[in-house]
């Protein structure tokens, strides 16, 4: 960029225009960075909360989970996810997904033939599946927002550390060059004028 600039007024005008654009964009990326940091913090809090809920459910289930070892019923058949609906919203240019509904297949449990513990097992498994689905979505959100944050930081740093200083330097270079050219032209013009005046006087 700095090596091949044309030292003329058009380039100077273009560079000044670019600098103006960079100066407008910099605070936008700074604000975006700040906003994304806040979003990441809130998603991280949600992820921690969900992880805690999953651990709490595991601890609670462990107190009686031994009954699930009884080889009488296939829990997989009783609890299948029918569909997962998500809703999306845009935060600072990133699409964030949230769990809207998680619908399980409505399978009737035979209360006469199945053991009593099956009811509690079905409830706990549904709760944990819902928690895991939400965690999965939040972790996906976190990955996307972190990626966007990295991009915003790259842009901010590029503007701050490269584009703006380089453009300013190039503008300065062209201004000095054009100033020198202008002074040289004036000097030449004065010299020519003096020569003409001397010729006229000699005649």
């Amino acid at each position: 960029m700095a090596d091949k600039i044309l030292m003329n007024k058009n380039t100077l005008a273009t560079l000044k225009n670019e600098l103006k654009g960079y100066r407008t964009a910099l605070p936008v990326f700074e604000m975006k960075e700040q906003k994304l940091k806040e979003v990441i913090q809130s998603i991280e809090t949600a992820v921690e909360r969900l992880k805690q809920a999953i651990m709490d459910t595991n601890s609670e289930v462990k107190q009686w989970v031994g009954v699930m070892a009884e080889p009488t019923i296939d829990l997989d058949v009783l609890i299948t996810v029918k569909n997962i609906d998500t809703k999306t919203r845009e935060i600072a240019g990133v699409i964030v997904k949230q769990l809207d509904t998680l619908v399980f297949d409505d399978i009737d449990i035979d209360f006469y033939e199945t053991p009593l513990w099956v009811d509690a097992a079905v409830e706990s498994i549904k709760d944990q599946k819902t928690n895991l689905a939400m965690l999965h979505l939040e972790q996906g959100n976190l990955d996307r927002v972190r990626e966007e944050l990295a991009e915003a930081r790259r842009m901010k740093n590029a503007l701050k550390e490269v584009f703006i200083p380089e453009t300013k330097a190039n503008i300065r270079k062209i201004e000095i060059y054009l100033g020198d050219v202008e002074r040289l032209a004036i000097g030449c013009a004065k010299l020519v004028k003096k020569k003409k005046e001397r010729k006229t006087e000699a005649l």
């Binding site: 009593l116 097992a121 689905a133």
Partner: protein, 193 residues
């Protein structure tokens, strides 16, 4: 085991008591394994009991012995059995299962009575494991009550089998295995996203 009469069989079977200590499990399974001359794991004791019972029972008795199982004892044909003890236990199990069915159905309803009265069902623990043990204990006590007067006849052997099945069911409750099944069940599908 030396072949002989039913009295000999009953006296040579391991003593069963309602518990799930490792010592009890080891004691019962090691005696059964001695009969079977095997060092296999203790989780399959019923085939050994069946094999031993076959030596002492007539064909009809043995067929009945095989048919009687904890998982099907509530069936109508057992409720109408000519064996009073089997019929009584079958009716008890049918009533218990019926009350459990009502209890479980009520739990699904928001406006269900909070404490419905049942004939045989006590107030059950909210911990499913403890509730299952409560129910097993009820069934055990019922078998104990029905076993009075039956010490070395075929009914005693039927009761012994049912008691062994109750214990084997209790002993099958294993936290590590159960938690593994729980973990596998909750992560069987993708979640999109």
């Amino acid at each position: 085991m030396i072949a002989g009469n039913l009295e000999y069989l009953m006296s040579s079977l391991p003593n069963l008591s309602f518990g799930n200590t490792e010592a009890l499990q080891h004691e019962v399974s090691s005696i059964f394994k001695k009969y079977h001359l095997t060092s296999e794991a203790s989780d399959n004791l019923l085939p050994i009991l069946n094999a031993e019972a076959k030596k002492f029972l007539t064909k009809t008795q043995y067929d009945n012995f095989l048919r009687i199982q904890l998982s099907n004892i509530h069936r109508e044909d057992f409720r109408e059995s000519s064996n009073d003890v089997i019929a009584a236990f079958s009716i008890f199990m049918h009533n218990l299962k019926h009350e459990l069915k009502i209890f479980r159905s009520n739990r699904q309803l928001e406006d269900a009575p909070s404490h419905p009265t049942f004939d045989s069902l006590p107030e059950l623990s909210t911990n499913p494991l403890k509730a299952e043990v409560q129910l097993l204990k009820m069934q055990w006590n019922q078998l104990e009550a029905l076993s009075i007067g039956h010490y070395s006849d075929v009914t005693a052997l039927y009761i012994y089998k049912l008691k062994l099945e109750l214990l084997l069911r209790w002993w099958s409750f294993n936290e590590d295995v159960g938690f593994k099944i729980f973990k596998e069940t909750i992560k069987t599908e993708g979640y999109g996203g």
